[in-house]
Amino acid sequence: MNAKTINIKVNGMPFFVHEGTTVLEAAKLVNVKIPTLCYHPDLPAWAACGICVVKVEGSPKMFRACSTPVEDGMSIITHDPEIVEVRRTVIELILSTHPNDCLQCLRNQNCELQRLAAEFGIREMPFEYNINRIPVDDSTTSLILNPEKCVKCGRCVKVCQEMQNVWAIEFLGRGESTRIAPAGDVLLAESPCIKCGQCSAHCPVGAIYEKDETQKVWKALQDPSKHCVVQIAPAVRVALGEAFGLEPGTLVTNKAYAALRRLGFKGIFDTNFGADLTIMEEGSEFVERFVHGKGELPLITSCCPAWVDYLEKYYHDLIPLFSTAKSPQAMVGALSKTYYADKSGIDCKNIFMVSIMPCTAKKYEIVRSESMYSSGCQDIDVSITTRELSRMIKSAGIDFLSLPDEDADAPLGIYTGAGTIFGATGGVMEAALRTAYFLVTGQELKNVDLTDVRGIEGIKEARIRMAGKEVRVAVAHQMGNIEKVLDLVREAKAKGKELPWHFIEVMACRGGCIGGGGQPYGATDEIRKKRLQGIYKDDTQSKIRCSHQNPAIKQLYAEFLGKPLSHKSHELLHTKYTPRPLYTR
Amino acid sequence: MAKMTLEELKKLRETKKRELEKREVTGKDIEITVGMATCGIAAGAKQTLSAFLNELEAQNLSNVVVRQTGCMGYCYAEPTVEIRMPGMPDIIYGKVDPETAVKIVRKHILGKVLINDHILDKPAADIMKK
């Protein structure tokens, strides 16, 4: 890159940076940490809170480090008594609008405001408290808005509007009565909210958070009449360790199984089995549409429930493009109360199925429609997030790091490398192509590493030749990136032009599920990349890397389902979609 | 393509300048200008304007032009009115309510006598005249 280099000084230390670097980034390069609150690396600088102010020699003003680009010859002073005093006063002012109840807050020990108060040695509140008493909004299945704790950093609004393009929440009112809520002050459940939880993943304090359903799980675990089983999603295994001090991306799969057993679960399953199953069903669907012309193209994945909600609200004319296959968790859920129930001789009414997901929208998925009760009971009883599980493990006194490695239970715990990569953006597509290639050509791919669909780029494209035809695929993640893709599809269909792609994978969260709204706090691209590396490591170290080669899957079809897209498959493993209004009030 | 050329504008300006100076062009040589900015209107300038029009009609005066203008600056004395007529000094009157308007028509315009207790003055230089 031919970016111009600029000479600057930070606290007297000279060095040079590229043009376009902000003061905050420049300071980081020389290991000077300027405190921030509203700033987040995922978003352009909002420049609101006023904590990152610094001085620049030659100017009487103070500047916000997060938004000020460096200029040639700039001499920046990041800390002096006056600057610290101003920052401290700003923090005290913010604290005067924030309830002083850390001990009862879910962000206790994991809160950015708390960290600032501790670092600045705040010992008293010099100003009167002025807290906006606005009621909590817990109208959705997944998220809770707690406006009293809101520090108006604006991250959630920017994420929902600019990153996710959902526009469920906005700033309302002005001045001291500014609050963050859906337009018209409707409830979140009445708004376009897709429950992706990205707002909660970016909130620096306890103003937006997931609905904690751990009590339901504890209750079931203690109920002797309940046979508790659990499934764990691919993305959880590369992030759960972070709650216990491990590096992001560390694979803790087998420790997780052990922890779940110690919590009291009788059946330890893996969502990756469901992923392999999804590939069989969806891959066959693709063959039907692409080879035999039955149904519409492009085929669009539907395993992401936030994405499903988004399309049902914003692009419901494209519903016929959706794969009718359920998500991996839903498939495992349905099977746990039928296939597994039969095998173990337990009535489905007594089976309590819990899923551990990186995702807040999964709480919505499990009650989304009738098809989520395909087993005759609710297929999945509770879905909890990675964050909730980590709290359960801690409160159970389990020393996670010293757990031995254990295995999951067969058959619903056996998976291939193709299943595990579902947790990464591009993973579903890669897994699907590995199997689709086999289904179409009857041959195995020589190289199953389809790297074109991997990586943190918002939209990725790839081409692969199958039986003399070119298959064009697209992968999009972070909801805001999908508009472009869908508009091109709409345009092509309207004008009768050739389709830009035949198969599209969509994930609502940046990075795919590893960046999900229920994952441990503080995800940045740096951390997402590490988690992605962990996922692909799990794939390469798997003995079997294609879903159709999974012996447990083969057994399932032989014993129970017949073949992909069979009547039974449709009953248990497929779902329907319905257009939904953006606002229900 | 242009709606008006440079030469046309210059000619137009000259014409209009002369018109402003030679008020007799249209046979109307007496000018009543009423300040119609928000301060004037708030103080009742619209009613003052009507009073002028009514009285001029009642007195059958056809050589008088009644026009509006913006804020003259005397917000404390609104409504303000400027009277210009040949043979009399240009005078600005302040606090011109409808009653005073009638007086102005009768005493100043017809009687050629200034009305004593309403006269303001223009302590501000007109930079365009130089």
Binding site: P69, V86, F127, R174 | A37, C39, G70, M128
Partner: protein, 595 residues
């Protein structure tokens, strides 16, 4: 038959106290004696504004200007000037520079006001483009389109020394030059007509009285920097100005002075009006641009500055109405002419909205360097009701107060800043002994707290905290420690707020605290309000020894809390009294006491 001569005797307060009434009477009798009563009318006028040389007598139609006239001079003026037609030279005003006897029109000094911005206001019909054209309207645009290069325009602005009149005082040529030099398109021209300071209406009057001057100026800017589109962002609370602007734009388009290929020059320029929706913060330039873009009116961090990345991240010149109004004159008369007016660092004139406890409230336009005393006393006519001057507030909610000892300060950007205030957009509010400085600070802070956009914590939270402290002070519930905390919050707001609203919101507080610390301490330590304004700290009571029982106060009391028999001393029920002060002001016997 018109009179042959008119004698105008200045009736301003200063002249009155030096006997203008007597002069008037003498003229009447002298004219009678001379037998020319029928030929000359003598009248008393409003204040000419030249009070140090009063009493003033003006003789028309020859526009002779007599100064320091004594009552006895009437005889000589009648005999010499009115009968024989010879001016009384010794009484004529002598220009300092030329020592020649001057006519009214030539008297620059007499004319304390020099209307550049308001040149056409009060002269032309703002709804008639032809009147604007006749007064050299659009001649500056002609010059820029056909006779000047963009660099020459910038140079003329640079020589003129014009600084932004919205309050910040940034050199206009520099702002235009940034935008001109940036290699990006499209570029935009924006007029900030969201005048929000309480008590300021200079821009409103300019737009109502001379809308074309703004249109012409924006087109000039467009040609200079390379922009073809302009926006006028005007607050919806100015319906008349909006109406006049719409008419002006329509007329300009009809004549081809806006639109495509203006005057055959090949230059296109058109202007659109955008309305504000009641937010003071949208007068801040980045919030204004956000509002035009359809976003919430919240400021954005600078740098980058709008000149480089403004409307839709494109180079944008955004200036205040008053700045724009100066442009055509500078082009026509030249920057050097403009630079001749004003002080070394502040050139040209400034329009002030002179309001408050002043006799002659209104819009005044004076050259920079005019002193506050001249504006308040000479032009403004001094304090009404014979009260004592206490302070003058400039710069609206971003400014501070200036006390009597600084009244001879020549007004310019730097001087006002040194005094702890700012020039601001031009609001100038005069206060007398009955105004309480704590109350004034509370008023301004109440305004900024209400208008704060809420984006940044220092302003959103700090402003409310400051206001709460002021409220405590006005109720006699504050401590000295509270004053220290106010200073701490004020410092944080000034340094860490995102935009000028928050950065300057503490100014009224800090300024009044500096100059009127005793008044604050009276509220804090003694729990009294010396000016008698803060309701919680005053009580009205009736002195029985002075009350004659006329019952007037009881009849005027809006809450009927005064009782008493006829001709018996009356009593105020303190529990019901709302401290409106009506009884205090109507009692003719001084029987109502305010403590």
């Amino acid at each position: 038959m018109a009179f042959k001569n008119y004698v105008l005797v200045c009736g301003g307060t200063a002249c009155q106290s030096s006997k203008s009434e007597e002069i008037y009477k003498n003229f009447i009798s002298e004219l009678e004696a001379a037998g020319i009563k029928e030929d000359v009318q003598v009248v008393i006028t409003g204040c000419f504004g030249f009070c140090e040389k009063g009493p003033i007598v003006k003789v028309l139609p020859d526009e002779s200007f007599y100064v320091e006239v004594k009552p006895t001079d009437a005889k000589e003026i009648v005999a010499e000037h009115l009968v024989k037609g010879r001016q009384v030279k010794r009484l004529l005003y002598q220009g300092e520079e030329t020592k020649k006897h001057a006519k009214v029109e030539d008297i620059a000094f007499y004319q304390k006001q020099f209307r550049i911005v308001l040149r056409n206001c009060g002269v032309i019909n703002p709804e008639d483009i032809y009147e604007y054209i006749a007064r050299d309207g659009y001649a500056a645009l002609e010059k820029v389109l056909f006779e000047m290069t963009p660099d020459q325009v910038i140079q003329e602005l640079k020589v003129s020394g014009l600084r932004g009149r919205g309050g910040a005082g940034f050199p206009t040529w520099l702002k235009w030059n940034f935008t001109k030099e940036v290699n990006d398109s499209p570029k935009y021209i924006v007029c900030n007509a969201d005048e929000g300071d309480p008590g300021a209406y200079m821009d409103r009057s300019t737009l109502e009285g001379d809308p074309h001057s703004i249109l012409e100026a924006m087109a000039i800017a467009g040609k200079t920097v390379g922009a073809n589109k302009g926006y006028i962002y005007i607050r919806a609370e100015y319906p008349l100005a909006i109406h006049r602007l719409e008419i002006a734009i329509k007329q300009a388009r009809e004549l081809g002075l806006l639109g495509k290929d203006i005057l055959g020059s090949g230059f296109d320029f058109d202007i659109e009006i955008r309305l504000g929706a009641g937010a003071f913060v949208c007068g801040e330039e980045t919030a204004l641009l956000a509002s035009i873009e359809g976003e919430r009116g919240m400021p954005r961090p600078r740098p980058p500055f709008p000149a480089v990345k403004g409307l839709w991240q494109k180079p944008t010149v955004i200036n205040n109405v008053e700045t724009w109004a100066n442009i055509p004159v500078i082009i026509l008369r030249g920057g050097a002419w403009f630079a001749n007016i004003g002080t070394e660092k502040s050139k040209g004139t400034k329009v002030f909205a002179l309001t408050g406890k002043i006799r002659n409230s209104g819009l005044v336009e004076v050259p920079m360097g005019t002193t506050l005393r001249e504006i308040i006393y000479d032009i403004g006519g001094g304090i009404i009701n014979g009260k004592k001057f206490k302070a003058v507030q400039t710069g609206g909610p971003s400014g501070g107060v200036i006390t009597a000892e600084y009244l001879d300060t020549p007004i310019d950007y730097e001087n006002l800043q040194k005094l702890g205030s700012i020039m601001g957009s031009g609001g100038m509010i005069v206060m007398d002994e009955d105004d309480c400085m704590v109350d004034i600070a509370k008023f301004y802070l109440g305004f900024t707290v209400d208008e704060s956009c809420g984006k940044c914590a220092p302003c959103r939270v700090g402003g409310r905290q400051l206001l709460n402290y002021l409220d405590k002070i006005s109720k006699g519930k504050a401590t000295r420690d509270d004053l220290a905390k106010m200073k701490q919050i004020g410092a944080a707001m000034k340094r860490a707020s995102l935009c000028g609203l928050g950065q300057t919101a503490p100014n009224p507080v800090l300024s009044t605290l500096t100059y009127f610390e005793k008044e604050y301490l009276a509220h804090v330590d003694d729990r009294t309000c010396p000016a008698g304004k803060c309701k919680d700290l005053i009580t009205y009571s009736i002195l029985p020894e002075k009350c004659i029982g006329c019952g007037l106060c009881a009849r005027r009391c809006p809450v009927n809390c005064i009782t008493g028999e006829k001709r018996q001393p009356h009593v105020i029920d303190q529990s019901a009294c709302i401290k409106c002060g009506e009884c205090y002001s109507v009692c003719k016997f001084g029987a109502v006491m305010r403590k």
